[in-house]
């Protein structure tokens, strides 16, 4: 009965979380070893644990660690944002990329860069601008969808419209700006970890930690569980529906903005990760889904980043951006979701 199922569920959550953490650890180690100079796993371990390795290896590892951390955190951040957006829209296809928040965040950032490229030196500022853009984009998509009747389909369609418009706008703005940027401007459009600096991952880590603490302190996971069964069901359990949705949207957009400001627009992770967690769990219980989404999102991006780097070894044409790989993995997954949800 419920007692047994719940107890078994908690144990299962523990096991799943543990195995995802291990997966992430293995992928991270793997990701550190792959690159233009291959470093063997024993070397990495001796460097990390004992601290015995030569200067060059240490330097390369340091650089790669920054990238891998950025990739892992981007994945985690986007996965949490995606899970929140799917919850508040009660829509299995929602995510920061599809609803257009990523694109509007980048458009806001590019517009600000057009005024002054110097702001790139201030991470807090760029994150705030991208956050404002993400929030406006989310509100825009939701408003358009409400005008169109507020159905699940209208939300996705208006998100696609917002997304298309603002990725066009940011593309145009960045095109104008490209001579003044240090990295190829395409990297911001599709998301790449190659331009990430050592100081960047801590921003993502701190924001992710703060967001999780805030979600927990406000009781958002349980509130979202109740909210999934309708506004009046949540209200009947004593939740303030507007507050729950606004707080979740705020956190989701903050995380989206942070990821866009640091690595650019990485698509589909926010969509795929929550679904992976649902498949593992068999339910959308947000208390478990948020944790598992975060871990699977991180694993997914670290894997994608490694693939991107490994791929560029054979190309000798510079680096394949992270977002390209996540799109190649994510888009078929989206198609699969559309087919399965349409069939039901």
């Amino acid at each position: 009965m419920a007692y047994r199922i719940v107890k078994a569920g908690r144990f299962r959550l523990f096991l799943l979380a543990l195995s995802l953490v291990l997966t992430l650890a293995v992928l991270t180690a793997f990701s550190l070893s792959v690159g233009s100079s291959m470093i063997s796993l024993p070397e990495i371990l001796s460097c990390a644990i004992v601290g015995e390795c030569d200067r060059a290896t240490r330097l390369v590892l340091g650089l790669r660690l920054t990238r891998t951390m950025a990739a892992a955190l981007t994945g985690g951040v986007l996965a949490v944002a995606g899970a929140l957006m799917q919850g508040i829209s009660r829509n299995p296809l929602a995510d920061p990329f599809i609803l257009g928040s990523s694109s509007t965040a980048l458009a806001a950032l590019s517009a600000a860069l057009l005024l002054d490229v110097g702001i790139l030196a201030y991470r807090q500022l760029t994150i705030s601008i991208a956050f404002a853009g993400a929030m406006l984009g989310y509100l825009l998509a939701v408003s358009i969808s409400l005008l169109a009747g507020g159905t699940g389909l209208s939300l996705i369609l208006s998100g696609v419209a917002v997304s298309a418009l603002f990725s066009g706008v940011s593309h145009a703005l960045l095109h104008v700006l490209q001579d003044r940027l240090r990295t190829p401007y395409v990297y911001l459009l599709v998301g790449s970890t190659s331009g990430v600096l050592e100081r960047d991952p801590p921003y993502l880590a701190v924001l992710l930690a703060l967001s999780l603490v805030a979600l927990l302190a406000l009781g958002i996971p349980k509130a979202l569980n109740a909210y999934l069964f309708g506004d009046s069901y949540a209200a009947q359990l004593g939740y303030r529906v507007k507050f729950v949705t606004m707080a979740s949207a705020f956190v989701a957009c903050l995380l989206t903005g942070a990821s866009v400001a640091v690595v650019g627009v990485v698509g589909f992770v926010g969509l795929a990760a929550p679904h992976i967690s649902r498949m593992l769990l068999g339910t959308s219980d947000y208390r478990a889904a948020l944790i598992l989404s975060m871990l699977s999102g991180s694993s997914l991006t670290v894997l994608s980043d490694t693939v991107a780097r490994a791929f560029s070894l054979f190309l000798a044409r510079g680096e394949l951006p992270l977002g390209v790989v996540t799109s190649i993995i994510g888009a078929p997954f989206l198609a699969y979701l559309i087919v399965t949800s349409g069939r039901r």
Binding site: M1, A2, Y3, I5, V6, R10, Q86, G87, R90, N91, P92, G152, L216, A217, L218, G219, P221, K222, N225, A226, L228, F229, G230, S232, Y233, A235, Q236, L237, G238, Y239, R240, R278, G282, T283, S284, D285, R287, R344
Partner: protein, 320 residues
């Protein structure tokens, strides 16, 4: 919070509770509550008043000239109604007569545009949302089911009002309360299914289980017997009646099925265009002409087994 605490101490055995209990959450006392499942689960539907549990205070709900309008439509138009604990009041009436709106008013999901709602003698506006959430259950089978959730997850949400904000998982008491309801409604086999994989009859049982898992003092059910087969209708209404009697809950049920209404309701409020057209025992209401006028069909009353009077609507005569 304190006021709720007082109720709770009543709920878990009245005077025997030390006064310290006042600050405790009600979930703490759930173990001492009388079990929901009692022997004689298969009582015939016509059995009336069961012995009332000692120490359970009678709940009460009162509406005073309550009005509510959606834009220009007056859904509830000056309803005065008193519901005392331990009795089932049924709302019957044609579609759009204001049954669901009335339930929502009592559940404080909407506030009356004029008039008042009292719960346990106190103006409903004076309760905090979480107090209302612990006191009132409103079950509505129309649930969005776009994201996959299991039945057990859904039923467990109804215990959230009894948990602290920072409490991440259910307490043992929450699980016990849920388990007793699950056993009573016979839905143990559905727990691990997803909500979107249930038939409408199964969903109906699950929704009622969630409503009862709160152990509410005020139980509001919207069409609990819809989508159910004949046997399940009796079973569900038996559960509702047993709960109402044992916990002295104030139960309001919106029903379309006049037959079920005449069997299970202690009194009937016949609604017509947001007003109460008739109020009284089923036998009185169904034998009056008003019910025929409101529905526009004939209603025949039949005595079954010499005791209970059941209402049977007749097909309207065409061309007349």
């Amino acid at each position: 919070m304190k006021r709720w605490g007082r109720w709770v101490s009543f709920g878990c055995g009245g005077g025997r509770m030390p006064a310290v209990r006042i600050t405790q959450r009600s979930s703490a006392g759930a173990r001492e509550e009388p079990p929901l499942l009692r022997e004689g689960a298969s009582d015939p539907p016509r059995t009336r008043a069961r012995p009332v549990t000692e120490g359970e205070r009678r709940a009460s709900v009162k509406l005073e000239a309550a009005r509510y309008s959606y834009d220009t439509v007056r859904a509830v138009d000056g309803v005065t109604l008193e519901i005392e604990g331990g009795r089932i009041v049924c709302l019957v009436g044609p579609n759009g007569s204001g049954k669901t709106t009335l339930l929502k008013l009592i559940a404080s999901l909407i506030r009356p545009s004029s008039g008042l709602v009292y719960i346990d003698g106190k103006d409903a506006r004076l309760y905090s949302p979480s107090e209302i959430a612990r006191t009132v259950s409103f079950s509505d089978p129309h649930l969005p089911r776009t994201l996959p959730m299991r039945v057990v997850d859904f039923i467990l949400t109804s215990r959230y009002p009894f948990q602290r904000t920072l409490q991440y998982f259910e307490s043992e008491d929450d699980l016990r309360a849920v388990d007793s309801v699950i056993e009573e409604l016979g839905i143990a086999h559905l727990l691990e299914r997803r909500l979107d994989q249930l038939s409408s009859g199964e969903l109906q049982r699950v929704v009622i289980a969630a409503a009862l898992a709160k152990r509410p003092r005020v139980l509001l059910l919207d069409e609990p017997s819809a989508f159910l087969d004949v046997r399940s209708r009796f079973e569900i209404m038996d559960v509702v009646r047993r709960y109402t009697r044992e916990r002295r809950a104030a139960t309001v049920v919106a029903l379309h099925d006049l037959y079920m209404a005449s069997l299970y309701c202690d009194s009937i409020a016949l609604l017509s265009r947001g007003r109460i057209a008739a109020l009284g025992a089923p036998a009185e209401v169904f034998s009056s002409r008003v019910v025929e006028e409101v529905y526009g069909v004939g209603v025949k009353t039949v005595r079954v087994d010499g005791t209970s009077l059941v209402a049977i609507p007749l097909p309207p005569r065409s061309g007349n």
